[in-house]
């Protein structure tokens, strides 16, 4: 059974369509990055999966209907909606007590172990902690939950680079164990390049790219084209072309790398470059047929 399965998932706020009938499947043990420009529908998709908003179409998360079974679903799912949703009046020790009291899969010992690695004192109130420490605290609480699916919506927004790096390091080293599934949205795409197993681009409420990272490496190539090869390269119909320091950089999809090596330096595009390439195409085609 896939962890998340959506068919024709649609959500409109008034006349504005946030999700335009998307189909997706996320298998267990994957780390999926959901990437898209502001207002693309990422958060709407996550909110639907978490039972925070009603939707049209079919959606199953771990066999539950999220909208009607949110409280049952939350025994197997946890989410960090974005930074700073922990109640500001709460004392760290109260957070630990409360989680122990309401969540059957919370390990207080584990949470205290994670907190011991930080500078957070158990007597502190959330309002006394820095933004980075609040995220550390929330992550400690979340990682102490033995749940099957973890959903992160912009978990590192507004954090400085040290905390951001640390966040994904502890997530991978202390939490992820291939039986759990993680779905993450972020604008800091470079940071999660090595974290993800799957990548999905979403634009205007539609999925414009859905690939595993392995597939991405074989399917997409970025070539720094030598000046005398530009016309030959263009003949291969690149997805996108940009100029950097007078050199053309082109992104190709589905073209054999052997064919490209003659044109210039070939490498796997970064998520950011691929994003620009795919989004450029999607914009060019209007709402696209992805």
């Amino acid at each position: 059974m896939p962890c998340i399965e959506a068919r024709g998932l649609r959500k409109a706020f008034g006349t504005k369509v946030a999700l335009d009938g998307i189909d997706l499947q996320v298998q267990e043990g994957r780390i999926l990055g959901l990437i898209g420009p502001n207002g693309a529908g990422k958060t709407t998709a996550l909110n639907a999966m978490l039972g925070l908003i009603p939707y049209e179409g079919q959606l199953q998360v771990l066999g539950h209907d999220p909208w009607n079974e949110r409280d049952a679903l939350m025994r197997d799912v946890c989410f960090m909606a974005d930074v700073a949703v922990l109640p500001r009046w709460m004392v760290v020790s109260q957070a630990l007590e409360y989680m122990t009291g309401v969540h059957p899969r919370f390990s207080r010992a584990k949470a205290e172990g994670f907190l011991a690695k930080t500078d957070i004192r158990k007597t502190s109130k959330v309002r006394e902690l820095s933004k980075g420490m609040v995220v550390q605290l929330h992550l400690a609480l979340v990682m102490a939950l033995d749940v099957k699916l973890l959903v992160l919506d912009e978990p590192t927004l507004g954090l400085d680079i040290l905390y951001r790096k640390q966040f994904y390091d502890s997530l991978l080293n202390d939490y992820f164990d291939h039986s759990r599934t993680i779905v993450v949205t972020t604008h800091q795409v470079d940071e999660i390049q090595d974290v993800l197993t799957d990548l999905m681009f979403i634009h205007h409420g539609r999925i414009v790219l859905n690939t595993s990272m392995d597939e991405l490496e074989t399917r997409y190539a970025e070539v720094k084209v030598m000046p005398d090869q530009v016309e030959a390269a263009r003949a291969l119909k690149p997805l996108h072309e940009r100029q950097v320091l007078g050199r053309s950089i082109m992104v190709f999809a589905g073209i054999d790398r052997k064919q490209l090596t003659g044109l210039g330096d070939v490498r796997t595009p970064s998520i950011a470059d691929l994003f620009v390439a795919v989004m450029g195409t999607a914009n060019g085609r209007g709402q696209g047929e992805a």
């Binding site: 679903l73 939350m74 909606a81 949703v85 309401v102 059957p104 080293n173």
Partner: protein
């Protein structure tokens, strides 16, 4: 790598501990966290009681003089004179309970959206109905019980202090205790707080909770202004004021059995739950309360942070 294996094994232990661990109690912990968040729920009654006790101590000489001057009075007058500071103490805690309850009910489902913490609460396996029921039971039951307990302690301390002063001035303490009959006084107060301030006023608190879960801003205004507007409209269109009368009766003129004008020979006869329970106003109010609570729980499901 080492730390990773540690985490793995502790995850395994934890899974084993889960099956034998204590059952989770979402309702209890939902109540518990309200008292963490809204500390005024207990600080305000305690502070009011403390200030009142201080005032009582300062004016204790006056109380004793009043007691001396009532030798020629009849029993009911004697009782009323002696009881007046004690009745004031109960009245103060009732008033504080109502104010704190109203403040709490208006903020309970609004504050969590304003500070976005609703997203944290909703990430945990606690249903909206459990949350709203916990929040409703605070002004309707727990706050009233707490105010009663504070009143009992306050009145007991007042009695001890007054007895000490009376005894020190060489007079009999027994008349004070006999006239006030504290146990009876406390049973009556408990009855009054639970029936009137809890059950009879429950629709007011439930209405405020409903507005608190609905309003995008200014829940106090949304709770009050439409009610006032409705009454004013009735006055304007029909030149009647049934709606205001209805609200006034609900708020002030609770069932006659519970609000007494004359003090009967045996005040315990006032405890007639039968009369109270047969009052249709009680039951229509409780039905309205239940509807508001279900409505608030449904609204909370749809509500996003502000």
């Amino acid at each position: 790598m080492n730390s990773q294996t540690n985490v793995m094994s502790s995850a395994g232990e934890q899974a084993a501990a889960n099956t034998s661990g204590p059952p989770v109690r979402p309702f209890f912990w939902s109540l518990r966290r309200e008292f963490w968040e809204y500390r005024s729920l207990y600080i305000a009654p305690l502070a009011a009681a403390g200030i009142f006790l201080l005032g009582f101590i300062v004016t204790i000489g006056h109380q004793v003089t009043k007691m001396r001057g009532m030798a020629g009075m009849d029993a009911i007058h004697q009782r009323n004179t002696m009881a007046s500071p004690y009745d004031m103490a109960s009245g103060l805690l009732m008033a504080v309970g109502m104010l704190v309850g109203a403040y709490y009910a208006l903020d309970a489902l609004y504050g969590e959206r304003r500070d976005r913490s609703i997203l944290f609460w909703k990430s945990l396996p606690v249903s909206d109905l459990t949350t709203v029921l916990a929040k409703a039971s605070i002004p309707i039951f727990l706050l009233q019980l707490f105010c009663w307990a504070v009143a009992v302690v306050l009145q007991f301390l007042m009695l001890l202090i007054q007895s000490a002063v009376v005894a020190a001035s060489g007079e009999s303490v027994s008349i004070l205790w006999a006239q006030l009959s504290p146990i009876q006084m406390w049973i009556m107060l408990l009855n009054h707080l639970i029936t009137i301030h809890g059950l009879w006023y429950a629709p007011f608190y439930a209405w405020m909770l409903l507005i608190s879960s609905w309003a995008r801003r200014a829940p106090f205004l949304w709770a009050v202004l439409p009610v006032v507007a409705l009454g004013a409209l009735e006055k304007l269109v029909f030149n009647t004021s049934y709606f205001f009368q209805f609200l006034g009766n609900r708020f002030g003129g609770s069932p006659a059995v519970v609000f007494v004008k004359d003090w009967p020979a045996n005040p315990m006869t006032l405890l007639m739950p039968g009369h109270f329970l047969l009052n249709p106003g009680l039951w229509s109010g409780l039905i309205f309360t239940a509807l508001c609570i279900v409505g608030a729980a449904r609204l909370r499901r749809y509500r996003a942070p502000l």
